[in-house]
């Protein structure tokens, strides 16, 4: 099985570990992620104003590129997923909008490509049972908190990869890898997103709440699917430790990094050295 793959700008650089661990995991599971022949940044923000057609041009170009390769495109970054999926719907629902946007970018696109997140590929096209069978290094019962954030889930009808209140798709994956999933109240709360640019105090509070909430319930690692969440959480952890006596720092990793390790990838392949808080001591401690 081959599936067209859109990495997005951040996975090509700052979050390379996310990209490599995913591709290698796909290989281990018997399918290939075929990078789009030509792609550009998705714009990182779905234009919330229906009259903002300019904001649709970048993701529309990505969709047009994907359509040339197949009938579906997958991505890893939560934000790319949200932008592409919402753009797809906007173009599908409104023929005139589609006509104007595709005319502007001088591409053909009829809205027939499906946008699916990598977690959905694992659940629906590969199957978690097959993932379980392919596990070579079970993750020793590591207590892993699956942090969804906002972009994978909302607006629910348009993008939700699972229930928008109480999703379990990431926990289900972590279970088959041998982790013990930890549920926590802030798992669907926003990390602060682009306010990292203007209000680091707000990010520290929002991301801090996520971390505290997870660690209070016994999490030993926080798992995410978004480079911005990963950055905000890592950046805010020091502040949490300042205000909470006895707070224990936890690594913040991408779900494909844990998937990769479980499937037998080397630490280097999984990009473990990139993370600010190293997850390797935890893996060693649990005998992985």
């Amino acid at each position: 099985m081959k599936i067209p793959y859109y990495p997005g700008c951040t996975l090509n650089t700052v979050a390379k570990g996310f990209d490599v661990s995913a591709r290698e995991s796909a290989r281990a599971l018997g399918f290939e992620m075929e990078e789009l022949g030509q792609w550009n940044c998705c714009g990182a923000s779905f234009p919330l104003s229906p009259d903002n057609l300019m904001g649709l041009t970048a993701p529309a170009k990505v969709l047009a590129s994907a359509a040339r390769m197949g009938d579906a495109v997958t991505t890893l970054c939560s934000v790319c997923y949200n932008v592409l999926k919402r753009t797809n719907k906007a173009l599908r629902d409104d023929g005139e909008k589609r006509s104007v946007v595709t005319g502007f970018i001088e591409e053909e696109y009829d809205g027939s490509t499906e946008v699916i997140h990598f977690l959905e590929v694992l659940r629906d096209r590969v199957g978690f049972d097959r993932v379980r069978e392919s596990v070579k290094r079970p993750l020793g019962g590591i207590r892993a908190a699956a942090y969804y954030g906002c972009m994978l889930l909302r607006p629910a009808g348009e993008v939700g990869i699972d229930r928008h209140e109480g999703p379990t798709i990431m926990e289900d994956l972590l279970s088959v890898l041998g982790c013990e999933p930890v549920d926590f109240p802030n798992k669907i709360e926003c990390c602060g997103a682009h306010l990292a640019m203007t209000r680091t105090d707000v990010v520290e509070r929002l991301s801090g709440n996520v971390l505290e909430s997870a660690v209070d319930r016994g999490a030993e690692v926080v798992v995410t699917s978004c480079p911005l969440c990963q950055y905000n959480l890592e950046k805010s952890q020091a502040k949490v430790a300042e205000r909470r006596a006895g707070y224990r720092h936890v690594p913040v990793v991408y779900f494909t990094q844990l998937l990769g390790i479980a499937l037998g990838q080397s630490d280097e392949m999984a990009g473990l050295a990139e993370n600010r808080w190293d997850v390797r001591p935890l893996l060693e401690e649990k005998g992985v």
């Binding site: 919330l48 104003s49 640019m197 209000r199």
Partner: protein
């Protein structure tokens, strides 16, 4: 607190522009407050989402434009998710941001961004931030 209401403000072009640019219908909101309860940044907003919507329903656009709310909204759509009438305060705040940005008023000057942020932050943060805060 005394507040004067004007028909021209309530039904005026600013309100019509906000509704058109956001795709939202202000009358749908019946002020249950779910949005403000779910909004992660409402604690820091001058006017939390439901209150901002109330001001808009009463035609008081300038008060909402002056508030920090629209610049704090992260677009997480928790408001929309929790709203019993499927109103998106996030979409309304985006319309208000657009009204300001389309006049060429930057909320954040690029030259004021710290170098360490530009070097270390994931590109998506910079792109997204520019989309929402820079004209």
């Amino acid at each position: 607190m005394k507040i004067k209401l004007f028909k021209q403000e309530i039904e005026g072009s600013s309100i019509r522009q906000i509704e058109r640019s956001s795709g939202e219908v202000l009358k749908n909101c019946y002020q249950c407050g779910n949005c403000s309860g779910g909004c992660p940044v409402s604690y820091e907003m001058d006017l939390p989402p439901s209150q901002a919507i109330r001001f808009l329903q009463l035609g008081k656009v300038e008060e909402v434009k002056k508030a920090n709310s629209m610049w704090l909204c992260v677009g997480c759509q928790q408001c929309f998710s929790r709203c019993p009438k499927s109103v998106s305060a996030a979409n309304l705040f985006e319309a208000l941001r657009q009204m300001s940005l389309r006049q060429g008023k930057d909320h954040k000057e690029i030259r004021d961004l710290p170098v360490s942020f530009l070097e270390k932050a994931p590109q998506q943060a910079i792109v997204c931030g520019f989309r929402k805060l820079v004209s």
